[in-house]
Amino acid sequence: MSTIILDFEKPIVELERKISELREHAATTGVNLEPEIKKLEEKLQKLIVKTYSNLTRWQRVQLARHPDRPYTLDYVKRICSQFMEVHGDRHFADDKAIVAGLATIDDQKVILIGHQKGRKTKENLERNFGMPHPEGYRKALRVMKLAEKFKRPVVAFIDTPGAFPGIGAEERGQAEAIAKNLFEMAKLRTPIIVIIIGEGASGGALGIGVGDRLLLLENTWYSVISPEGCASILYHDATKAPLAAEAMKVTARDLEELHIADEIIPEPPGGAHRDPDQMAAVVKERLLFHLHELQQIPIDVLIEQRIAKYAAMGSWEE
């Protein structure tokens, strides 16, 4: 169960606690409280539906960043029968903010890459909070080239607050590394499925995020800059991030309306963190569905469709 509770989750958690107290009371005293418990459970279901169908964009951003939310390796553990992690960009280092490996999902062998955040302070530092350096993008490209060579599809899990803004990152060509990946992924001769599982911030997300399908979990965000970054530029005040999230239309549903998303994957009631097993089962099913579909398409047609898809993105007046 969740240890961190967001403001809008509080009434739900409160009610859940009450129900379990009643249960305990009934068990220890032998008093029949079933009718009351049933009533509260109905109330709980209604409350959950009401709360989560009316979330603001900012609340969805908070869910996308929930510290208990499943990360890439949490999905790997649940959906892959085999996974062998591989390391390093062969030039500079192994960036732990991006994981990569040889993965088997049912009968499908895929190259899996993904941003990886840490759970505790030590792991978070090791993972750099899921903010990659250039070597992370170069590692991802290296294994994607391997996927192309041996005709294995690529599955990319996106979950990053952004590419790291630091001295080393700039010295080693953060911009070049991301640009190169966009260029190479656009024409990589194997199917690519991109799935946003949490945060999709800017070029840091897109750097491993060009593909044939873009799937987004329901409570995720993906935009050109973080709401805080946008707020600090436009309002000179990062605390106005909720307003920026509204203005930039950053949620999965927004991306569907803007014809960027190919599919929105519903989350369990209350969000992915409240039932990671169920979430992973759904993710697995949707990945397999799209993998099978994409593998029917001849590779030249697939690349043509991929480039045409990106060529059509945007909105303007002729």
């Binding site: 630091g166 656009a186 024409k187 070029g203 050109v224 970054g229 436009l234 909105s315």
Partner: protein, 279 residues
């Protein structure tokens, strides 16, 4: 689809004033010498004392480089897809910027003659919302790549941009993928693309087409990077090293081919075009 516009050289020169501040004398921010404005203009915005490169307009670049040219897709305009409103309305900002610059967007795309070479040239315009890339900039760049591709012409892009445009959210981000995908196709068919980086080239522009040139040139002293220096300073909590993210720094780190003074840009480009031209 391509809509050709003929612009005269006379009309181009007048907009230059918007970049170099008005008044007869201008103080050089690098050496603090006072420069006579007309001299500075004649010298392509380069300080005669210290060679500091003032920012110049996109029209001036076109003017410096091309003998004759025709602009295309000048009519493309943003339709404010998000109905974006923060401290001000994006729609108003667009209107005001169009009135101020006389342009519809932050890039001009032209086909013309650079010496003897027919080329497709795209020049970004920092005066138009910081040269930011939204849907229209991405689309115009994509169409410029397509035109170069179809007509087997070399492509030159001069970048001058703070990055992707926030006011079009995810659509701006996707322009990075769009332009890079187009360049990938162009590249595979043997197209020549020269990227020229001027001050500043940062964010999503750097992390897409600006860094994808077969050759990458930069003006001296130009700020070039992914993250802006302010953000980096905030993140790491101390001052940045001298010359960090300047063209000379990128040259040293191996990310650009050559630094070219603006006065040498035309001859350098012609040399490259001559070299790669198939007889």
């Amino acid at each position: 689809m391509v809509d050709w516009f003929q612009r005269t050289k006379k009309g181009l020169l007048s907009s230059e004033k918007k970049v170099i501040p008005d008044g007869l004398w201008i103080k050089c921010p690098s050496c603090n010498e006072y420069l006579y404005k007309r001299e500075l203009d004649k010298n392509l915005g380069i300080c005669t004392h210290c060679r500091y490169h003032f920012r110049i307009s996109c029209d001036t670049y076109i003017n410096i480089l091309l003998n004759v040219f025709e602009e295309f897709n000048a009519h493309l305009k943003s339709n404010d897809p998000l109905k974006f409103k923060a401290s001000k309305k994006y729609a108003d900002q667009l209107k005001q910027t169009m009135a101020k610059t006389g342009a519809n967007e932050a890039v001009k795309t032209v086909k013309g003659k650079l010496g003897d070479h027919s080329v497709v040239l795209a020049v970004m315009d920092f005066n138009f919302i910081g040269g930011s890339m939204g849907s229209v900039v991405g689309e115009k760049i994509a169409r410029a790549i397509d035109l170069a591709h179809e007509q087997h012409l070399p492509l030159i892009i001069i970048s001058q941009s703070g990055g992707a445009r926030m006011m079009e959210g995810i659509l701006s981000l996707m322009q990075m993928a769009k332009t890079s995908a187009k360049l990938a196709q162009f590249h595979d068919d043997g197209g020549l693309y020269i990227s020229v980086l001027t001050d500043p080239t940062t964010g999503g522009t750097t992390a897409s087409y600006a860094m994808l040139g077969d050759l990458i040139l930069a003006e001296p002293g130009a700020l070039i990077g992914f993250a802006g220096p302010r953000v980096i300073k905030q993140t790491i909590g101390h001052e940045l090293p001298e010359g960090f993210q300047r063209a000379e720094f990128l040259l040293e780190k191996g990310f650009i081919d050559v630094i070219v003074e603006r006065s040498e840009l035309k001859t350098t480009l012609i040399k490259i075009l001559d070299f790669f031209k198939n007889e």
